[in-house]
């Protein structure tokens, strides 16, 4: 059996499961219990809404009938996530590289890093909000506090495990310390750093949404839509926000995979798939 027919077969199954799930959801939330109490359902759409209602709300939230459209909210969330991601990855990478190559610095900073990292980041939200207000900055900072550590720890490990013989060979070929950094340490560490990027973008998104929970309308974003829907007990709007977040998460993860494949094309596991 060829790869192609196998792929088609898997896709057909995936679609079939989706159709069954959506169908069951729509159908089950439509059956009323045999009871005199009006509006009592076997599975109550009040809590989980229905696909048809979600589609309706989706169209409505996308339209210009609302003050803050779904588009604007999604854009705000994506923007904050990318900022948090970029800032977190770059600072985490530099810090990991520096501490990974300097044993004494690593020993000095170790307790601080461990202490800060064991702090649940959500507990920081009120403080961050107090300092940075309700806008973009607070969300970015929150995402940064999470992403930084993920990237830092990976890069740190990577920088420590650079093959000493590769460094020796570079030195015998006449490399200066700087050149060793550029041609040996950084390329070899990058593979480790990349492994942390996919979780990083997911966690950046988590940080941003949590920030938006508290951020109010000025912060905008899909987190705001979720909290607002909780206020109005509107499950359909919540589902719209969740599905949109899901799509955003997938698109960003796929984008990162692509960049990773391009940059790590020398690794056998990426061969011929780039």
């Amino acid at each position: 059996m060829s790869m192609r027919t196998e792929r088609v077969r898997v896709l057909v199954w995936q679609l079939a499961i989706l159709v069954v799930l959506l169908g069951a959801w729509e159908w089950l939330t439509g059956i009323k219990t045999v009871s005199r109490t009006p509006g009592l359902y076997w599975v109550d759409p009040f809590f989980i809404s229905r696909p048809s209602a979600i589609v309706q709300r989706f169209a409505y939230l996308m339209s210009d009938q609302v003050r803050l459209s779904l588009w604007e909210m999604a854009l705000s969330t994506v923007q904050s996530t990318l900022w948090g991601f970029v800032v977190g990855v770059s600072t985490g990478f530099v810090a990991g590289l520096v501490l990974g190559r300097h044993d004494r610095l690593a020993r000095i900073f170790q307790p601080y890093i461990v202490a800060f990292n064991s702090l649940p980041r959500i507990a920081l939200v009120p403080l961050i909000t107090m300092i940075f207000g309700f806008g973009l900055a607070a969300k970015v900072v929150l995402a940064w506090t999470i992403v930084f550590f993920i990237v830092f720890f990976n890069t740190f490990q990577g920088a420590r495990s650079v093959d000493a013989d590769l460094i020796h060979s570079a030195r015998f070929l006449g490399a200066s310390e700087r050149q060793i950094m550029r041609t040996v340490v950084i390329p070899s560490t990058l593979a480790w750093t990349f492994a942390s990027l996919t979780p990083s973008i997911s966690f950046a998104l988590i940080g941003v949404v949590v920030g938006e929970f508290l951020g109010g309308e000025s912060g905008g974003g899909l987190g705001y839509l979720i909290i607002q829907s909780l206020g109005t007990l509107n499950a359909a709007d919540m589902m719209v926000a969740l599905l949109t977040l899901g799509v955003i998460g997938i698109v960003m993860a796929v984008g990162i995979r692509q960049v990773e494949r391009r940059l790590l094309c020398w690794r056998p596991e990426y061969r011929g798939r780039a």
């Binding site: 020796h168 060979s169 015998f172 070929l173 061969r271």
Partner: protein, 233 residues
Amino acid sequence: MAIVGPSGCGKSTILNMIGGLVTPTLGTVEVDGRPVDGVPRGVGYVFQKDTVFPWRTVRRNIALGLEYRGLPAAEQERRVAEAVRLAGLEGFEDAYPATLSGGMRQRVALMRTLVVEPEIVLMDEPFGALDTHTKLDLQAELLRLWDARRQTVVFITHDLSEAITLADRIIVMTRRPGRIKMIYDVKLPRPRDVIAVRETSEYLREFGEIWHVLGEEFRSKGASTAPGSNEDA
């Protein structure tokens, strides 16, 4: 020059001291009359382990030393092309090491070292991890390359036939603690053919002589393989 001796006798340590990777406990090592402190200039090193940079193509691996020296791009390109031709790696210039065989990778490592034209080349069992056929191939290659430039090569091996095939002089070491047991001058004429040379009576005679001396070391070894003898790694 080749150094042979039992495992753990300190062959690699000698090489690492010449290369400035290890500081001797006592005394100093001099290269060209200058004491060694850090990696000396003009010394190349080929490791047994695969040290080709996996994230660089063959071409860019060979160019490394030239790049570090800041040679102009045209000059780099010319010398790399020459090295690629000498090593028979044409057609693989843009391949990543992961797609090459062990023999080809070691060829890249060899050319990468030779392309900067070091006066002294240190080789630590460079062909130790290769199969017999590839090994002979690379020995022939090394002889050919050496013949063109005649650098000083310090070659570590535990394979006596390899030592005789390649070297002018062989140092036989005792087992731990490693001392020099014998210095033997190989009188086989050059250029040598790695396969034909082994069938000559001169080769067999010299092999027999050194083998006898080396055999004493192996025989007296007994159960004395001390734990922690990691210098030979």
